[in-house]
Amino acid sequence: MKTLDRLRQGLLRNRAWDLTRPDLSLELNTSHGTLLYLEDISVSFDGFRAIDGLNLYIDAGELRCIIGPNGAGKTTMMDIITGKTRPDTGTAWFGQTIDLLRLSEPEIASVGIGRKFQKPSVFEPLTVFENLELAMAADKRVWPTLRARITPEQRTRIEEVLETIGLQEHRTRRAGALSHGQKQWLEIGMLLMQAPHLLLVDEPVAGMTHQEMDRTAELLTSLAGKHSVVVVEHDMDFVRSIANKVTVLHQGRVLAEGTMDEVQNDPRVIEVYLGGEDVHGPMA
């Protein structure tokens, strides 16, 4: 079944088969300043074009917000970057050397792309510290895991992340006892433990209180610089509070790109948002 699927995808993609392409590179190189290149990506589900000739570039260290009405293709775009969905056409490069379309999901995770899903999924019976410990990049086979002892460097690393996500005081608390917002931060922390270059964050503030939103905004802006962060979010106040560059997706393509003010005054964006498709409220 799986082989059949592979074969089908190999035939669908308008490029040579994986096997015939030598020298798979896993070494990240961003000397041109760009971390992610998505070019001319299209994907259809049963004839419906969810992504339609998408071009998107993310700089190293940048914090980018992606907005767009429901069904615009934002989540699908993340699925493509993380290898969950394979595009019909187009190219996706991580730095100048890593061809994402040739890597499996775990491989993509290991070259440094971390993704946070909308629903927080932390290990509830374990403590905050233990959650971070399990997520840490390490030899994860059975025997080394049984024998594993936390080294001083690893402890420092966990402490750093605890501080970044603001949960130092909660390190010995069960993750299940955290508030919704704290769980979201813990999950971001678990991503950070894997030392990713690119963080994809889908709707991080859904269901958060205002204070929690402010903390999240701080957290995400503090991550930019060291990491590139791509945030998909519907909450416009939140987007305004963190974004310097915003990309508007609509029907699977980029409709506008620029600062929050620029895109907000773009007539095409106003048209899309006031055209009655948006259920999340007006942009103003």
């Binding site: 290991s110 086979r141 594993a148």
Partner: protein
């Protein structure tokens, strides 16, 4: 390393201290105190206690996979019985020409079946070291193969539990057959001695009791070490969010496979210590009901604590011995009723009750 594993385990420290005291006192009260003294512990009681300790080890093995890994095994009785049979085969071959038929090479039941030589799979069981190795290898291999087939095809939850029931049921039917060469429905019995020691003597009984206590303590410490390790936390992560654990890079199937196999080996060792103390092993030990009973012990004692499993096994079996003496027919109802009560009012078992007290204090 071991002490470190016990550091945070108050229940475990209490349990091990009590076990040590019992293991020291019982032999003294049996051997040194005269039989007419009220403090005297009869050899019958010593053997009964030894049997309970092997059940406790079995319960710890089940708690490891059920409490910490989330695999509700309803077939651990099979691993216990296989360990028991391996020991039973050794004990059978020690009888020599003292059997009813006086055949120095063949156990009585084979003479009765008109067999003329020992089946190939009985070879080697006249040596203790070989039998001891089989006590570990046979349950371990079965668990490994079973786990490899089921975990890899991602069978989980109720389906897995049902398959473990089917496993022990199938083994029961197989062992009931005379042609299998394990004594059919009579099983293996009439044992005389172990390593040259007379099984009827008080000293041997005491020796077996101490061996059971040591095995329980060792098994407990090994399980505690495992659940306190990072692997133990991965097990809990698998129990509560299997696919998420896979997603952050752990090989879920491998973790399950090795912990399950280790647990089966512990069950096998428990079975091997059980058989010389009760003096018989028969296919009834494979009965699906037995395996369910073990799970009930653990549920009553308290899941995912290890010492709760010990407590549950001891209390329930003491209750069983007592009740079957007074009202033999009432036992199954009592057990079922107890299980329902605990599930409704004490979802964390007796150990959970103690822990709640501790948190309040």
């Amino acid at each position: 390393m071991r002490l470190e594993a016990l550091h945070l385990d108050r229940g475990g420290r209490i349990f091990l201290a009590l076990l040590a005291v019992t293991t020291l006192l019982v032999p003294i009260l049996n051997l040194a105190v005269p039989a007419d003294s009220p403090l005297h512990v009869s050899t019958y009681t010593v053997t009964l206690l030894g049997k309970y300790l092997t059940y406790a080890l079995l319960a710890v093995a089940v708690d490891l996979v059920w409490g910490y890994l989330g695999i509700l095994s309803l077939g651990h009785g099979a691993f216990f019985a296989l360990g028991g049979y391996a020991m039973g085969m050794y004990l059978m071959l020690q009888i020599g020409d003292r059997g009813v038929y006086g055949n120095p090479d063949l156990p009585d039941f084979m003479v009765f079946l008109n067999w003329h030589e020992l089946p190939w799979f009985w070879h080697g069981f006249d040596m203790f070291w070989f039998a001891a190795l089989m006590v570990i290898l046979v349950p371990g291999t079965l668990a490994f193969v079973f786990g490899w087939l089921t975990f890899r095809s991602r069978v989980t939850g109720v389906y897995l539990s049902i398959i473990t029931q089917a496993l022990t049921y199938a083994l029961m039917l197989a062992f009931f057959r005379n042609e299998m060469g394990f004594g059919g429905n009579n099983g293996l019995t009439d044992f005389k001695d172990l390593l040259g020691f007379d099984l009827q003597s008080d000293a041997t009984r005491i020796g077996l009791f101490i061996a059971s206590a040591l095995a329980l303590a060792g098994g407990y410490l090994a399980c505690r070490y495992l659940v306190n390790s990072k692997l133990g936390r991965v097990a809990v992560a698998i129990r509560d969010a299997e696919s998420r654990t896979r997603f952050i890079g752990y090989r879920v199937e491998q973790v399950k496979l090795w912990i399950f196999t280790f647990s089966a080996v512990l069950a096998g060792i428990a079975g091997a210590l059980y058989v010389p103390q009760v003096g018989i092993i028969n296919p009834g030990e494979f009965s699906p009901l037995n395996s369910i009973e073990i799970v009930v012990w653990v549920a009553i004692g308290g899941r995912a604590t290890l010492y709760g499993a010990v407590l549950g096994a001891l209390l329930v079996n003491y209750g069983k011995t007592y009740l079957t003496g007074v009202m033999p027919d009432a036992w199954l109802f009592a057990l079922g009723g107890l299980f329902v009560l605990v599930t409704l009012f004490l979802p964390q078992g007796i150990a959970g009750l103690m822990r709640r007290k501790e948190v309040q204090a």
